[in-house]
Symmetry: C2
Subunit: 254 residues, 2 copies
Amino acid sequence: MAKIKGVLIDLSGVLYVGDQPLAGARDALARLQASGLPLAYLTNTTRQTRDRIHRKLSNMGFTVPESAIYTAPQAVRAYLEEHDLRPFLLIHPDLEPEFADLVRPSPNAVVLGDAGDAFTYQALNQAFRLVVSGAPLIAMGNNRYFQEPDGLSLDIGPFLAALEHATGTEALVLGKPALQFFRAAVDAIQCQRGEVMMIGDDALADVEGALRAGLQACLVRTGKYRPGDEALIQVPGAILADDFPGAVDRLLAL
Amino acid sequence: MAKIKGVLIDLSGVLYVGDQPLAGARDALARLQASGLPLAYLTNTTRQTRDRIHRKLSNMGFTVPESAIYTAPQAVRAYLEEHDLRPFLLIHPDLEPEFADLVRPSPNAVVLGDAGDAFTYQALNQAFRLVVSGAPLIAMGNNRYFQEPDGLSLDIGPFLAALEHATGTEALVLGKPALQFFRAAVDAIQCQRGEVMMIGDDALADVEGALRAGLQACLVRTGKYRPGDEALIQVPGAILADDFPGAVDRLLAL
């Protein structure tokens, strides 16, 4: 493992599940923060605004500056503004405030988040018809599923696969595992890619994605992790840790 | 084109769209029936029972014996019974009567139809969790979309793709383009595969599927057909016709 000079941390499944901090996660984060390494928090969570994620972390006892949280919805918002696109939003109602000012008549882009119950047939069909007629399909990630207290639940990826399959087009994915998303965070903490470690519970979106972007990466066996997930990673170099405290121990031992 | 001794006919998009017969379709079917060739009707429509499809055809002026209609739901029902499976049904409410007696507690199979508005997040998530825990995923087809009076609409295929992507498993598809589905119909009309022509508007489910099953096949440019669809067909030998009357003219000219 090369010397680590900065750390990117996935949130859900690494620091907490639902609204419960994972065992030892608060202490481990405090130790990591005390080390002085620059940190950033990367989440594809698309059911909450960044503000809400920050408050949720605070309520669970994690001390994290809001400006260090990088969300997939922010990346999508920036893209829409840059390209002057009028989005049709297939996103969670709790995220709608973050996009409300961009919604105008005659949408010419489809934005896909983890819409949850808002993934209705009618809404998916409307998105399908827009993409068939030429609107770009922009996704806040392509995670397959996430861990909920009562089991795994479908994330954005399967619905993205549905629309890609139906339309024969490929989506623009702007959250993890998009290289650009990792690299923007690396730039923000003023490090070089090879000396930054990404810690996450998603073998593909977090770990394989970070490795492809030229970072180091550690898969933790918490959250959505299932035995054998490490075998899904098609790029060499992944590190395994039982949990976030274990990952921090290994990092700080260097 | 080899001598044709039997014909398989797709219904929606070939004979009618919505509840409207296509131009010339009734006369063309009458001519084909008068020729004495044995006919069967193959549909992946999973929003109606066979009985309802038969009545719909009658109401539009098509004279078709109900026993000559082969539906994907029937094929799925037969499979469930043969393997003593308890289905979780993700199907259209109008089709539920055809499966009501098979539903028992603790489902151990997921059955996917074109559920339409019944494709809710909750239902898809329940199907996802069952498949993750080992239940087979059985689909009544994998058509991407179908033609509605106001535009194209999502069919079963995209939702199948979503569940396959989420679970990393492959579904058992029992409607078109399953080879077995075509071959059962060929057997029913007592023909040899190579001397039977399938006529359909779906380049993949109807035409490529039939060609793969060893039949001849004709793509009609009605219903869901879009210019260029013929290029999707990965197996040589497809015949093109403007519409069902055109396909019948070519058949009867032989």
